[in-house]
Structures are given as structure tokens and as C-alpha cells.
Amino acid sequence: MPDLLTHFVTAYGAREIEARRRLSYWFLIGAVLPDVLTRPTTIVMPSSFWITMPFHTPIGLLLICVMVSLLVTGRIRSGVFFNLLIGSYLHLALDILQAHIAGSYYLFFPFSWKSFEVDLMWPEDSLYLMPVWVLLGIFFLLRRVYLERQQGTKLPPNHPEGPRTSEEL
């Protein structure tokens, strides 16, 4: 996995760039969800790898997103579901760019045990790019502050450039 900071900054950047502002904070949560669900147990208890492995697959994440969205009120349910799902799939997309000498990702589970990766970078390479991620994060943060100052909050809530409403989440 790229580290969580890489996942988070990528998701934050994608959210800032997305012009129609349909990505809510649930998208950010989704972007770290697969690792948050699996890595703590795998690190503490490596033998649990195969038990938690489905949480890091598209089908497992789909089920988890369904479950989480069912726990929120009906009005924002679909928004929560899609934001979580897109965020977690972005996470998987970043993960498969890596190369491992040991195992990769079972994207087709449970239909196939074939593991798959693109082999573009080693897992630790994201660490070497850390200054880039930090600078990018700061850039997106400053960009947001600048845009908000420019636009203010006077625009109507349903304006494309205006603040998000709960219906949009």
C-alpha cells in the first residue's frame, strides 16, 4: 500500500479538482477505508491476513459501503454510499500501481484467486515522494482558502460553485 498520507492527499486533491463538487468528506473516509479495516489487524496479528483480506477487495468494500450507508438516514444514504465506494476504489486503484515481490491484490475475489498489480513502483517509493504529497496537500488547502475568500458563502447552496448542501452529500 502507499501510505495513508498519499491516499489521503490524492483523495483530497481529487475532491478539490472535481468541478461539480459532488465528493463529500465520506469520499475522504473511503479513500483510507481499505487500509484502516485491514492493516491494523495484519500488523498486530499477521495470521489474520486471510480473514481480513476480503475487506481490501472490490466486492468486500462494496458490501461494507452498503452496510455503512444503511446506518445513515435515508436522505443522504445514496450520497454516502457512492462517496465511500468511489473513495475506496480510488484507494485500490492506487494500490495496484505498486510492485511487490510478495503477493499483490486479489481484485477478482471471490471469483478468482488471481492477484494483480501494474508493477509501476515499489511500496516504499511513495515515501520518497513524501515532500511532494505534503506540498500538494498544502497547495490544495491554500487553493480552497483562496477560492472560498473569492466566492464567499453568499452564493446559493445549489450553485455549482457554492457550498455543498446535505442533499449533495
Binding site: P46, P54, L63, V66, P110, T165, S166
Partner: protein, 149 residues
């Protein structure tokens, strides 16, 4: 009521997936890459390579490793073994080999996964730090969107 039924169905499906994975996953070894997950027992000479070794390429016959400018070619059978296999068996190398383009004799080589496992430890701490950033950011976003609603 419908919501709870859907929730229970999803939970049952997820539990089924986890059970299936836990039961079948460890037996699914069909490639060299998958051997690592299994941490299969090796026979013969076991050589662990120092960290900072990269696998340049491998196929059915050879494993090409690199450390800095030095390259090493290993003959098969090669068994890769992960530090993070199921029983968390740490490899205790009996000897370290010199990476000066030597051809390492078989019959088996164990190399340690996570060639930069020191970085892995750093990565874990970094991820924890990222969570500390993420939680307040998500909270602020939630508050902001709530106030805009």
C-alpha cells in the same frame, strides 16, 4: 425493518467471504509470487539477502537481484519467503552473501520480503500520523457541510 434485513444480509455475505478467504486462501499457491504468502518451507541451503535488495526480474528459471550497482543471478529452485507470513516467522539467515555479481548456488534461496522493511516501519508510523491529520480534516469538513446545509 427493510434496512435491518439488508444490513443483516450484507453482514452475512461479508462473513461468508471472510470465512471462504480464511479457509481457501492459504491453500492457493500457484505462482512464485504466491509462494511468499505461504512462507513455504525450503530445503537445502538457505540464504537470506540483506535489505535494500531489489528483485529486478524473475521467471521460472532465474531470479535477478540488485543491490546498488551489483547484480546477482540466482538459479532455481528459488523460494521467496515473506517476513509477514502467517506464523510471522522471521528468517534467521545462516549466512549473508556478498552481492558482487556472484552466482549463488542452489538448491534454494530464501529472500526476505520487504527489502526496505525499515521503511515499512516508518510507513506505519506515517500512516498513523496521517490518521491524526485526517480525523480533524474530516471533522471540519463535516461541520462545514452541516453549517452549509
Amino acid at each position: 425493518m427493510k434496512t435491518w434485513i439488508l444490513l443483516l444480509i450484507s453482514l452475512a455475505a461479508l462473513a461468508a467471504l471472510c470465512t471462504y478467504s480464511a479457509l481457501v486462501g492459504p491453500q492457493r499457491v500457484d505462482t512464485v509470487r504466491e509462494l511468499v504468502r505461504q512462507g513455504r518451507q525450503v530445503t537445502g541451503q538457505q540464504v537470506a539477502l540483506e535489505s535494500n535488495v531489489r528483485v529486478v526480474s524473475y521467471d521460472a528459471d532465474t531470479l535477478l537481484l540488485q543491490q546498488g550497482q551489483a547484480r546477482i543471478q540466482a538459479r532455481i529452485p528459488v523460494v521467496l519467503k515473506s517476513r509477514w507470513n502467517e506464523d510471522r516467522t522471521e528468517i534467521k539467515p545462516r549466512e549473508f552473501i556478498s552481492l558482487r555479481g556472484t552466482v549463488v548456488p542452489g538448491p534454494a534461496i530464501v529472500i526476505e520480503d520487504y527489502h526496505l522493511h525499515k521503511d515499512r516501519s516508518f510507513k506505519i508510523w506515517l500512516s498513523l500520523a496521517a490518521l491524526l491529520v485526517l480525523i480533524p480534516v474530516v471533522f471540519l469538513e463535516w461541520r462545514r457541510e452541516r453549517s452549509n446545509a
